[in-house]
Symmetry: C2
Subunit: 330 residues, 2 copies
């Protein structure tokens, strides 16, 4: 900036004013400064600028996800980033790999950049470490799963409602033995989906058979094993509710390997690319990932714009898409 001022023959203050679009600078001086900036290829240092500015905003939002390459999370990120950019801010991201320590490191690294807001898809089981930042005015919103040991805004899918809808869809088609395949129950979404499934069974007076509930499934292989075990039961299920993406894929593969895919009904939680091209096409409970991202961004900006009320919880609806696999008869 010094060089620009020297070249334009004005003071640092004037250069700063031109850069900030102050209308009270004489047009010819403004011109000279802009020419000098162009000539020198000068670019203002945003962090020095923010450091000195009265409002002390960094114009950036930190996003801590579990894995940005997960298609669901990538879509949430996209929804977030779109709103963030429309508001003229920048997005910082990091993947925690479902590791609480890494999540904390990332969140704190972001916090020490004086981000204006933080979006977390939480992995850890204790988010109280963010209390100082929240109290210091960092806008904060949790997405997909609520925070633990911390009050904050949160946006989640209607996990229980979606799972209940799937179960009721199967019940309505005459299924009475429905296998449930889920992720680790310490994960909020996994627990909620199981809850929705159970409540739907209860509402319809179906007593739950513990043999039909398989959880703690961490990958497609585990899901495949669970499918095989369920189908080997003396009284096997006639339908499956696969409560997560990776589990659905593992179940689809195993059903095909066993050549049972036309015989056993199935509904997956989360939509899958090409689900409609399979035989049978896969019925799913679809989440609106982009809407989750947008809703999270909106809660965040409401806080940044000064909203000061209690913490808000937004639940994004899910949609049952019937394509064939969920409509197979028992």
């Amino acid at each position: 900036m010094r060089e620009v001022a020297a070249l334009a023959g004005v003071s640092l203050a004037t250069v700063s004013r031109v850069l900030n679009g102050d209308p009270k600078v004489a047009p010819d001086r403004g011109e000279r400064v802009r020419d000098a900036v162009a000539l020198l290829g000068y670019r203002r240092d945003a962090s020095a600028s923010n450091l000195r500015r009265a409002d002390r905003v960094s114009t950036s939002i930190g996003v801590v996800f579990e894995d940005v390459a997960n298609p669901f999370q990538a879509a949430v990120l996209r929804g977030l980033e779109t709103v963030i950019r429309q508001r003229g801010l920048l997005t910082l991201v990091g993947s925690s790999d479902d590791d609480a320590v890494r999540e904390r490191e990332l969140a704190q690294a972001f916090a020490s950049r004086r981000i204006d807001g933080l979006v977390v898809l939480p992995a850890g089981t204790d988010h109280s470490y963010l209390r100082p930042d929240r109290d210091a005015g960092v806008a904060m919103v949790f997405v997909d799963r609520p925070p633990v040991l911390l009050e904050a805004d949160v946006v989640v899918s209607d996990n229980a409602g979606g799972a209940a809808a799937a179960t009721e869809h199967l019940l309505a088609r005459g299924h009475r033995r429905i296998g449930f395949l889920g992720d680790e129950l310490r994960i909020y979404t996994a627990a909620e989906r199981l809850r929705g499934h159970r409540e739907a069974l209860w509402r319809h007076g179906i007593s739950e058979d513990p043999d039909l509930v398989r959880t703690e499934l961490r990958d497609g292989a585990a899901a495949g094993e669970a499918v095989a075990a369920l189908l080997a039961l003396p009284d096997p299920p006639t339908a499956l509710l696969t409560a997560q993406n990776v589990i659905s894929v593992g179940a689809i593969r195993r059903l095909r390997a066993l050549d049972r895919h036309h015989a056993v009904a199935m509904i997956g939680f989360d939509d899958l690319e090409l689900a409609d091209a399979l035989e049978p096409a896969i019925s799913v409970i679809a989440q609106d990932a982009a809407a989750l991202g947008r809703a999270a961004a909106e809660l965040l900006f409401a806080r940044l714009d000064g909203a000061d009320g209690g913490y808000r919880r937004v639940e994004v609806p899910t949609t049952l898409i019937a394509r064939g696999s969920g409509e197979l008869a028992p």
Copy 2:
């Protein structure tokens, strides 16, 4: 920091030294400072710190992609981010939406944060605007597509080689009329894949029929229309090479709708989730997105570590995965 110094009864300088792990501070003073930091929930301002530091590094890398929610790009991002974090830096991301103006805005917004490095999956047709930053020492690497009007390190897939392998695979199975479905040829990867296809035909003495080449396909619907048009030719192709993910999906849907999926051979460029569960399972040329990301990060850090040689170009191999659709007879 002032409050910490006051509480600990030491100077600002001592607090700074403790924070930076300077070994020459008396243990008891270090203890007092750490206690004060914990008590006050103090967190150092990273941008003020970087501003004053001798080395002037921001410890962050900017990443400009077309769409972070695209599965391929999400996987590249993941590869990048993993290496970046291992090196202790932070990742900034933005999506350009294939808009050259947006790409430029993002890259410049990052540059004015004094990022240490920039990774671009380029949309624009002129990257000379980055020359000042490159010359000012910002490490820079382009991924998936090379820069235009700018020399810089670049990491790409072996697009031509992969497409040639697909074409040769089909030729070896007796196909002589192969339909090529591609994206807009202004996109480097689309042009390269067509080039590979053509060169394979030439090598085998097959003269190209212009009717069989359909490019500028921007979405699944356009790809579907192209499939229908090809199959309606008087002398239709017996095999298809669908040269991009979205195009493959559109083609798969249309082939099924026409009930020709067991009759027309097909190889897609880019692997698809569930490709193995379709009937027939889809043969593909798989790219190693994570390897692209890692390679890009490594070129970047080589520059940051002072590598000063000419610009490097890394080509990541592709793999043909035969699953059935590419092995159908003519």
